[in-house]
């Protein structure tokens, strides 16, 4: 008899397992791969990015924009690889914050945690504002008589925030499904538009798009950084470690698929727009809204309407997914003791982090509305918000890539390959981050850079104070999902034995 056959027939007891996970209260192991993928894809909002990022990249990178997008995709894949060292081994709701705590300890986890909160909170604000902005444009298109007022946009944002709160409170399945449907529709519209453009201009491949004649190391790197911001949010399904079924299989796969699919979509969109402009003899980088210009110039004005609808939908899906991730990170911090205990509370019926949502959603809606009331244009506000979010994400990516080999060494599973991937990614990310901050500091978005710096310093200060008052925090942070007795052979009395008595 083999050892395996022996333990199957007479499982020895496995001590040291609890009856429930430290992250109990959420709907454990309830959503499948498609929902997990939808969470990451929606947080990236690829269709909104596909219509805006190629233009931003083209402005700075000129003819090298396709290459900048390719490099950014490669860098995002490298980050995904490092993050997956954790997602294959730890199921958590705190995502990168929890991962870093398992590798580099409490101090580094604080920094990552603040960066993640900034990233998810500001991208939620950005997406909510974007959804409201495009909804207002859409309304204006349909009823040109109606005035374009900040009040109307504010009401739209508040209404969308209410919708987001409702969907998120009602359960993780509903949130991911709504995000999936909305984002899928949005991506389909973009693909139709790109297809229509390419069909309109002729099917011949324009190899000139790959020419490197105008590329310099500097414009290529700035272009890569901007393109990288189009991928942020791909890691957000790592916050579903408790709620996903087979999380160690589905989450790593969702991360990689999201990066690959978004990268392909961006390249298609960039190529389509580039070719479209070239064939019409227009200047791509000089356009305000390239797809709209293309649509009008090609005699396809209906595309503009579809496009605005698609972008509004994509932003809404992004707001849902980013707020989902934000609430899970706050929930994790509540269970860790870093935030007040109430943040670790879940809804008794829907099993969602109710308290975190109640606190987060009003703040997310209030910031863009407040900026508008203070007289800032909504688009300017959004540009500022995205700078803070992107800086937060890149900081967190750097931290998690640095933590990966330390964590692997701690659990005795380090390899040369994993170490090398970490070092390379960290160097690239540090370079990218430096270039990004310097570049953004010279633009009108420089207040965003300052805001990011101030909030990082302030946040870390607050946490340092909290740590001094509660030294036990150093040990308690990093809570992750643990196997419960039922998951393990021999962890709980066999099902048949418990039934025999009845």
């Amino acid at each position: 008899m083999t050892a395996l056959a022996r333990v199957i027939s007479h499982p020895p007891p496995v001590p040291g397992l609890a009856a429930r996970s430290p992250l109990h209260g959420l709907e454990r192991r309830s959503v499948g791969f498609v929902d997990v993928l939808a969470q990451s894809v929606a947080a990236v909002a690829p269709s909104a990015a596909a219509t805006t990022i190629p233009l931003l990249v083209a402005v700075v990178a000129g003819g090298a924009q396709i290459w900048a997008l390719v490099l950014a995709t490669a860098l995002a894949l490298l980050v995904a690889m490092n993050v997956n060292q954790f997602t294959k081994r730890i199921a958590a709701t705190g995502s990168l914050y929890t991962f870093v705590s398992q590798g580099l300890g409490a101090g580094a986890a604080f920094v990552t945690g603040i960066a993640m909160l900034l990233g998810y909170a500001f991208i939620s604000m950005f997406a909510l504002a974007g959804a409201g902005y495009y909804l207002a444009i859409l309304t204006h298109r349909l009823w040109p008589a109606g005035a374009h007022s900040p009040l109307g946009t504010s009401v739209a944002i508040a209404g969308l925030a209410g919708l987001v709160a409702l969907v998120l409170t009602r359960g993780i399945r509903l949130s991911t499904r709504v995000a999936l449907v909305v984002e899928a529709a949005s991506v389909a519209i973009i693909l139709v538009l790109v297809g229509a453009l390419v069909a309109h201009t002729g099917p011949a491949v324009q190899w000139s798009a790959l020419s490197l004649h105008s590329a310099t190391p500097q414009n290529l790197s700035v272009g890569t950084v901007l393109a990288l911001t189009a991928f942020v949010g791909f890691e957000s399904s790592a916050t579903l470690g408790v709620e996903a079924k087979r999380p160690f299989a589905t989450i790593p796969r969702a991360l990689v698929w999201t990066v690959v699919a978004s990268g392909v979509l961006y390249l298609l969109a960039a190529y389509g727009q580039l070719v479209g402009f070239a064939s019409l003899g227009l200047d791509f980088a000089g356009s305000d809204s390239p797809v709209n210009d293309l649509a009008n110039a090609s005699g396809l004005p209906w595309m503009g309407l579809l496009l605005d609808l698609s972008i509004a939908a994509s932003f809404l899906a992004c707001a849902i997914a980013s707020t989902t991730a934000l609430s899970r990170v706050m929930f994790s911090m509540g269970r860790d003791g870093l935030l007040p205990d109430a943040f670790g509370r879940t809804h008794p019926v829907h099993h969602t982090p109710f308290f975190a949502l109640v606190v987060a959603v009003p703040v997310i809606a209030a910031v863009p509305v407040g900026c508008m009331i203070a007289g800032m244009g909504l688009w300017d506000t959004m540009e500022m918000l995205i700078v803070v979010a992107a800086a937060g994400f890149i900081t967190a990516y750097f931290m998690v890539c640095a933590a990966a080999p330390v964590f692997l060494r701690r659990i005795g599973e380090h390899t040369v390959g994993a170490g090398a991937a970490s070092v390379i990614t960290c160097i690239l990310l540090a370079a990218v981050f430096g270039v990004y901050l310097v570049t953004e500091s010279t633009t009108v978005r420089s207040p965003g850079v300052l805001l990011f710096g101030a909030m990082m310093v302030g946040g870390v200060g607050v946490y340092a104070l909290r740590l001094r008052r509660n030294p036990w925090l150093r040990e308690s942070i990093g809570v992750h999902d643990e196997p419960v007795q039922h998951d393990v052979l021999g962890g709980a009395p066999a099902e048949s034995a418990s039934r025999a008595g009845s």
Binding site: R89, R246, S496
Partner: protein, 243 residues
């Protein structure tokens, strides 16, 4: 797509089956070897210990272990270093059905069927699972999937349940009929007016290995009389053939 990291693509983007395709037989062999090692060592064994014990390269071992964790055959313990067998390995046991009965066994059962009016069935037990070894073709089992899934509905299942819970003799729940202590009985659970009776077959250590069952109308199950002598004789002759 950028070729920066072919490994990320292979591990993540490929369909679950594709990962094994190239060297599938070898990979399955290695995976089972890893499971066997975790079973031998017991819960809490680390990836390095598995690698050292099996002489498989570190990186290969980590990848195998993480694939087994993804499929939940292995479970990573709360300390994140150690591993235990997941409940899912029980599904492996489902795949391993016992071999078909030998000719000697079939002859004993055929003899019983010739002399008894009613269905005579033979089942085998492995761990907490039951397998139908030889079902009476003239009196088919009424609902085989349900009998195998829910051990409480049949006499043969109740025999196994009683084995894992020594506090309850199998005859408990039987009516006050002249039934031996070790037999199990069921009436009307599957078909109204019918029932079944099961006698244990044990090896020389006393472990339950098989069950001999009679299914018949209710009255003959409640008062088996001489049938019981025939069945017990059959069970005694089957024991050395099945143990």
């Amino acid at each position: 797509m950028p070729a920066a990291d072919p490994r990320a693509g292979r591990e993540g983007a490929a369909s679950p089956g594709a990962e094994l395709r190239a060297r599938q037989p070898k990979a399955i062999h290695s995976a089972l070897t890893v499971l066997e090692e975790v079973a031998r060592h017991g819960a809490g064994v680390t990836a390095q210990e598995v690698s050292d014990a099996l002489g498989i390269p570190r990186a290969t071992t980590y990848r195998l272990i993480n694939l087994l964790v993804q499929d939940e055959y292995l479970v990573r313990m709360p300390d994140l270093r150690g591993f235990a067998l997941g409940r899912k390995v029980l599904e492996l046991a489902h795949l391993v059905a016992p071999a078909a009965p030998s000719q000697a066994v079939r002859e004993v059962v055929a003899g019983l069927r010739a002399s008894i009016r009613g269905g005579v069935h033979l089942v085998r037990y492995q761990g907490d699972r039951m397998f139908v070894l030889d079902a009476d073709p003239d009196f088919p089992l009424s609902d085989t999937p349900r009998i195998l899934r829910d051990l409480g509905v049949s006499a043969m299942g109740r025999l196994l349940l009683a084995e894992s819970d020594t506090s309850t003799p199998p005859s408990q729940g039987n009516r006050d009929r002249p039934l031996p202590e070790d037999a199990a009985q069921q009436i009307g659970q599957l078909t109204p007016g019918y029932g079944c009776l099961a006698l244990p077959i044990r090896d020389d250590h006393g472990d339950l290995v098989a069950g001999l069952c009679l299914s018949a109308p209710q009255q003959r199950i409640e008062e088996p009389g001489a049938l019981l002598v025939q069945l017990r004789d059959g069970a005694a002759r089957l024991a050395p053939l099945l143990a």
